[in-house]
Amino acid sequence: MSQEKREIVIPSQLLGDIKNIKAGRGTFVENGKIYAEVLGILNKNSNYINVTPLKGRYDPIEKDFVIGIVEEAMSSSWLVDINAAYPALLHVNEVPWDVDFGETERYLNYGDCIMAKVLQVDQEKKLQITLKDRNLYKIKGGQIINVEPSKVPRIIGKKGSMISLLKKYTKCRIFVGQNGRIWVDGDDDGIKKVINTIDMIENEALSYGLTNKIEELLKKEAKDVH
């Protein structure tokens, strides 16, 4: 297993020189020098320096799958909270139903949860989402867990390894939104286990060998029940 160096950097920390390397996400350049602009993890390879933020709201990227909560139903669109700096717009043209003008409330209302996809992020950071895709729909049942968006890759794991483990041992349906919202459905105990395990992953996200540790724990709990 490759030992990625997990160095934490803070804003204004000097990372390199543009003469030798390119400045990527999470950095800024001043007088030819590259600095970190955010609290995060340093990723340095031979071409780029990036900093992955450890904290902060979701930064929407087109094609990301997200879990949204409807804030407002307007005459031909809805305003949806996706844990970003701004609410996203869902237009009636972007849903699988035939919605008449002014009839939006019949389909989606304040507080409804949806699995959506980020359609567009324009220059002014105006966001649009869509429900027109396989696997996108209005959510029924289950519970929503909130985590730091930066921890989502860890919860999914390399090639989905962590999330598969969770699904296997808790027999729950789990959907992880890139925006730090996770939907879980199953029996009470299963849901509880998922919540607790995700809590642990959040707290130890940066430690090595976490996947193995979680697997051992889940295996042990399953044995204890029998």
Binding site: V70, G111, Q143, D188, I191, K192
Partner: protein, 260 residues
Amino acid sequence: MTITPSIKKEYLVNLAENGKRSDGRKFDEFRKISIETGVISKAEGSARVKIGNTQVISGIKMDIGEPYPDSPESGVMTTAAELIPLASPDFEAGPPREDAIELARVVDRGIRESELIEVDKLCIEPGEKVWMVFIDIHILDFDGNLFDAASLASLAALLTTNVPAERFDLGENYPLPLKEPPISCTSVKYNGVVVMDPSLDEEEIAEARLTVATDINGHLRAMQKGLNGSFSVDEIKKVIKASIDNGRKIQEQLYKSVGK
């Protein structure tokens, strides 16, 4: 405004139908309470209380002033609460709105009606000069159940308050004369289920709220029902009993924290 997803409400309601709460507590169980006194050096008395993640600081300041005309030989007590924007994304800056005012008045009533502060011992010159006790409650982190956290912080602060006589050349400082503290316990009702010490999630879906302040003898000193739902008489009696039981436990913890 933070929106509560509707499935969260369904989830909590379903759990409740099976006798459970989302954090595993029993219906009449409080979260972990921590009490720390003497946290503000400028205040005559102060305390920081945490119930779960809810965090409140209460500071007591004292000054000399005129008594109320209808009680010329009694000290004066006032309570103010600030729901500062620090504590929640939904708290706005500005003059206190009704929630802050209700919070302050309910805490105030619990303290006043239990005669916790012996105001007749706070007279300096009848009709002219009395001690004034200012209770200021600052919410730092809102995660459900402000009433109990605010009340407990104020009690702990009062129990460790010293009257600043020296500053006014009135002799040596001495502990604020107090009687037994009343303990406040708050419950909320959602979908026919009543739970004590509501977490933030539970407060967000609460239809009705009941705060009961009881004293060391298990007697009632103050009550307040809030929100626009309702309670049955039976539910109210159950809440009172649970409040008396929890009140006793919390009072023990309170006394321990102030060194009694």
